[in-house]
Subunit: 208 residues, 2 copies
C-alpha cells in the first residue's frame, strides 16, 4: 500500500463524503474536507467563517460563470482576490501534506489537480444517477423533497465552476481520475473495498 | 452474479479489448466485438466486408463531423443510409442478446446505449493517459512509432463521432457507465478482478 493520499471528488448526494470517511477509518488515515480550512485558518490567522463565506459567494458569482464560458482565468499578485488567496493557501497546504508523505483522505478542494505532479496520490470520482442522489439527499442529508432537485443542480454547478476556474479542467472528466464509480448501483462499503483494492494493486509510475 | 452482459467501451491503446477477452474467458461468457458483424451478416444476408468498410467510411465522413457539431441526427425510413441500416441491425441483434438473457461481453458497438433500458448489463469504460496508450499500441498492437500519435487521435475521434451520431450522447461521459477505470496505473488482470467484483456486488435496480 503506497498511496499516501486518496482524493475524492463527488457529486452532491452520491455518498462520496461517506466513502472518504469510511476509507479514513479503515486505513487509519487522516480525513480532510472543509475542515482543511480550520487548519489553514489556524496557521495563517484567517477567519474560518470568512473563508467559507467567501468561497460560497465566489462559487455562485458572475465572475465564475464568466470564467467558465471563456476559459480559466490566470491570476497574478495584482489581481489576487480574497478567494484566490484562500485557494492558494489551500493549494500550499495540500502540497505540504503530499511532500510530508502524510497519509490522508481529501474530499473536494480540487486536490486531484493540486497533486497532479505527485506520484503517490490516487484520485477517485464518485457520481450517481439523479434519482439515487435525490434519495440519499432527502433520506440521509435531510434535504426537503421540494428543494432537492434545485439543490443538486446548484451545488454541482458551483463545484464545476469552482473547479474550472481554479484548474482550467472539466470537473468529472475521467482523465482527471484513476477510478470513477457510479454509487447508484453499489453500496458504500463495496466502493470502499474497491478503492482499497485499487490502491493496493496499482503502480506508481506517473502523476495524474 | 446476475449480469448477463458486460459492455466495454475503450480508448484506443487502453487495453479495453483485452479486458473484454479475459473477462469472457474468466466468466465463460461469449465475446463480441466486430465479430458481431459476422453474426448479423449471416443472419441478414449482408456482406461482412461491406458492413465494415461502410462503418469505417461513415466514421470518418463529413456527415459525422457535422452531426457532432450540430447535435445527433434523427433518422426515419426515408433517410436510412446503408450505415444506419447496419447500425439498426446491430442494435436489434444486441437487444435480442439481452432479451434472451445470453451471457456475453460486448466491446464497442454503442452497446451501453443500446441496453440503457435493460437492468442486467454492466457498462465499463477503460481509458488511459496518452503515454500508456502509445506504449501499448506500439509494443502490443505493432503500430509504427511515427504513426501512433495520429492513429490514437483519429481512432478515438472516430469512435466519439460514431457514438455521438447514433446515441446523441458524449462518448466517455461517466454517467453512461457503472465504472470507469484508468488502465495506465493498473494491470489488466487486476482490472478484470475489479469488474468481476463490481458485477458480483452491485444491485440491479435500474437501467443505465
Amino acid at each position: 500500500m503506497k498511496s499516501n493520499i486518496i482524493t475524492i471528488s463527488r457529486e452532491f448526494g452520491s455518498g462520496g463524503r461517506l466513502v472518504g470517511r469510511k476509507l479514513a477509518e479503515r486505513l487509519g488515515y487522516k480525513y480532510y474536507d472543509k475542515n482543511l480550512l480550520d487548519e489553514i485558518a489556524a496557521e495563517k490567522g484567517y477567519s474560518r467563517q470568512m473563508m467559507e463565506e467567501d468561497e460560497k459567494r465566489a462559487k455562485n458569482s458572475f465572475l465564475y460563470s464568466l470564467t467558465n464560458a471563456f476559459g480559466a482565468a490566470g491570476y497574478g499578485p495584482d489581481t489576487l482576490s480574497i478567494n484566490e488567496k484562500f485557494f492558494i493557501a489551500q493549494f500550499e497546504y495540500i502540497t505540504k501534506l503530499a511532500k510530508n508523505g502524510e497519509n490522508c483522505i481529501i474530499v473536494g478542494r480540487c486536490a486531484d489537480y493540486v497533486l497532479r505532479e505527485f506520484y503517490n496520490n490516487t484520485d477517485i470520482f464518485i457520481y450517481a444517477p439523479y434519482e439515487a442522489k435525490a434519495k440519499r439527499a432527502v433520506e440521509e442529508y435531510g434535504v426537503a423533497e421540494n428543494e432537492v432537485e434545485k439543490m443538486i443542480e446548484e451545488v454541482d454547478k458551483a463545484r464545476e465552476n469552482y473547479y474550472r476556474y481554479h484548474t482550467g479542467r472539466k470537473w468529472g472528466q475521467p482523465s482527471n481520475y484513476h477510478l470513477s464509480i457510479n454509487s447508484g448501483f453499489i453500496d458504500i462499503d463495496s466502493i470502499v473495498d474497491m478503492i482499497i483494492e485499487f490502491v493496493e494493486r496499482r503502480n506508481y509510475k506517473e502523476g495524474l
